[in-house]
């Protein structure tokens, strides 16, 4: 793997205040047609079903409207908002029961016999400030849950992994670390995409459980507030007037968010940064996508491959994009980033997957 640090365009500045858009008309939740759902009315935080080992909770209160499919044939359950925000809180559960109810996928992780608990707070995307905002706004909560997990999970220590260049997150964490003697900060070089768990494990001797800030915060909500995670931060940035971080309900349509922000005209010009364009498709804000980049200018035209081999040299997962070998691809987009002929190599892989 070649050490590549992605340079940020400092003319793109994100507003320091978070905009809350927590009143969507409807939300789209990942669904499987084999699930039988008898309810019509749902409450906020209500457990609806399990899908692919993950629990799906309703982020709003409202009425189940219909089941829809997107262009990629993904099925979604549509819930219409009644704007009442009727919240369901699970009570009288102990620590383990709470984890089992809210985050069963993390329970196995935490039960494994490991000594160290890691928080992977590395933000690879130079334009994505969502996790920085989360770390800055919820520092105390995240540190509190990590310490609680350390005690309950019998971990000897907690290590917070950050990039040397993430100065804002470092400052936010350092100022609160004094009261947690078993939580340590570890800084890593600003190499892309070291935040990816597979790449991280290859380059850093990780022997333990790894959580990300979103997971840690959702655990905080589950353990201390008896609530399911219903909202998340996303960054809408790029060549627009007012790049900003928005707090949205999980499952909100991105188009609706852009309409609220009065920048819906950019919908077709969105890129999932360093990965590939998703033009023209319905985008649902799931738990894993946190940054959307608007490219108002035309992209550079693709040229003929000059066989420089940099896509192979840079690939952190030893793929050979030039030979169409995408085994172990993590869609980091580094091959497209370094290509001197502006070929969207990572994009070709995404297109293949969607077909």
């Amino acid at each position: 793997m070649k050490n590549i640090s992605i340079k940020r365009d400092f003319s793109i500045k994100v507003n320091s205040r978070v905009t809350s858009l927590l009143r969507p008309i409807e939300v789209f939740l990942p669904y499987d047609t084999s699930i039988l759902l008898k309810k019509k009315e749902v409450k906020k935080g209500e457990l609806l079903y399990d899908i692919n080992g993950k629990r799906v909770f309703s982020p709003i209160s409202g009425t189940i409207k219909e089941v829809v499919k997107d262009k990629n044939n993904n099925t979604y359950l549509v819930i219409e908002n009644n704007y009442k925000e009727e919240l369901i809180r699970k009570k009288k559960l102990n620590f383990k029961e709470k984890l089992e109810y809210f985050k069963p996928e993390l329970l196995n992780k935490l039960n494994s016999n490991n000594d160290i608990l890691y928080l992977n707070a590395i933000c690879d995307n130079p334009y994505d400030v969502s996790s920085i905002f989360l770390l800055q706004n919820k520092t105390k909560e995240i540190l509190e849950i990590l310490d609680e997990l350390r005690i309950e999970g019998h971990f000897t220590k907690v290590i917070l992994l950050l990039k040397e260049s993430d100065t804002e997150s470092i400052t936010a964490l350092e100022s609160n670390l004094g009261t947690y003697p078993f939580i340590f900060l570890h800084l890593l070089p600003p190499i892309y995409p070291i935040g990816d768990i597979n790449v991280l494990k290859e380059n850093y001797p990780i022997d333990g459980v790894v959580l990300n800030p979103d997971e840690a915060y959702s655990l905080y909500k589950a353990v201390f507030l008896n609530e399911a995670m219903t909202e998340r931060y996303i960054t809408i940035t790029g060549e627009i007037k007012n790049p900003q971080v928005i707090l949205v309900k999980i499952g909100t349509s991105l188009l609706e968010v852009l309409k609220e922000l009065k920048i819906a005209k950019y919908y077709g010009k969105l890129d999932k940064i360093l990965s590939e364009p998703i033009n023209g498709k319905e985008i649902i804000l799931k738990e894993d996508n946190s940054c959307w980049f608007v490219c108002d200018k035309d992209k550079e035209k693709e040229r003929k491959c000059i066989s420089c081999g940099k896509c192979i040299e840079c690939c952190p997962r030893n793929c050979k994009p030039i030979f169409n070998d995408y085994k172990n691809c993590i869609s980091c987009g580094l091959c497209s980033y370094v290509c001197p002929s502006y070929i969207h190599l990572g994009g070709k892989q995404n297109e293949k997957n969607s077909l």
């Binding site: 081999g309 040299e313 001197p340």
Partner: protein, 274 residues
């Protein structure tokens, strides 16, 4: 979308052209100004500029900016011997430019150089070198006074070029290093066997540097995978050394051409198989 793309992209070709321009200046100094012959000066200028200018016209027609044709035109014309016939050379440029866009990935500069010099049995000496018995020392060679292509004799510019190119992301710097290394090792082995002391004589040949620094690492005509690049570089170094016994300058091109031919055919066959 330049903001999320690697920054150094367009600079390698420009750097190539810039360094070739310095070689061109030295070329006209050595083959025109020192000789003190106006005809020789005009001949040198036209011969070196005919490649990049014709390439530039093609680039402006097809790409609307300086690009591949200009660079490859420059690379070929600067490597030609002083005695090249300008008219024949201009005619030769037509199939040369056509080959640039073909699927056959044999290094066109090396191929056309070998073909042209072989076909017209050209010698690499300029007017002065052909008529006056000159004995070039090691320092002379370093500063460019040696026999070779019209603009490829200045060793220090070639070394500086390599240093500059090595800082570029898209330059395959392992190729010149390994081919020079294998050339050097061959030379040492030969010296040890024959008890000769000609290591520096071989190593300070500027054509070796021009070939390894400028021509062998050209992205399109060199292997993609690192392992293959190493094999290609080492084999080219060895072949260049072997053929330098046949002819000290043309032999180097022939050695490199044989490996490039093998690579080009291999690439074509693997493409057909896929």
């Amino acid at each position: 979308m330049k903001k999320i793309h690697y920054e150094e992209k367009p600079k390698l070709n420009n750097l190539y052209i810039l360094m070739l321009f310095f070689l061109f200046i030295y070329g006209i100094y050595k083959n025109g100004l020192i000789v003190s012959n106006n005809m020789a000066l005009i001949h040198s200028i036209i011969l070196i500029l005919i490649g990049p200018l014709s390439g530039l016209i093609l680039d402006l027609i097809f790409e609307k900016k300086v690009g591949k044709f200009t660079l490859y035109g420059f690379l070929l014309s600067i490597s030609m011997p002083y005695n090249t016939n300008i008219l024949w050379f201009s005619l030769f440029l037509i199939p040369y430019y056509l080959l640039l866009n073909s699927k056959l990935k044999i290094n066109p500069v090396i191929m056309f150089h070998v073909l042209f010099v072989f076909l017209f049995s050209l010698s690499y000496e300029n007017i002065l070198e052909a008529n006056v018995p000159l004995f070039y020392g090691m320092l002379d060679t370093f500063f460019g006074r040696s026999i070779g292509g019209i603009g490829t004799t200045c060793l220090w510019i070639l070394i500086i070029s390599f240093i500059f190119f090595s800082t570029r992301f898209y330059y395959k710097k392992e190729i010149p290093l390994l081919s020079l290394g294998s050339f050097c090792i061959c030379s040492i082995i030969y010296d040890l066997i024959t008890k000769n002391n000609a290591l520096f004589l071989h190593l300070l040949n500027p054509t070796v540097f021009y070939l390894t620094v400028f021509l062998l690492p050209l992205n399109e005509y060199s292997p993609i995978l690192k392992k293959n690049q190493y094999i290609y570089a080492i084999l080219t170094g060895i072949m260049m050394y072997i053929f330098s016994f046949y002819k000290p300058i043309l032999g180097l091109y022939i050695g490199a051409f044989i490996i490039s031919l093998g690579l080009g055919i291999g690439k074509l066959l693997s493409k057909k198989r896929n």
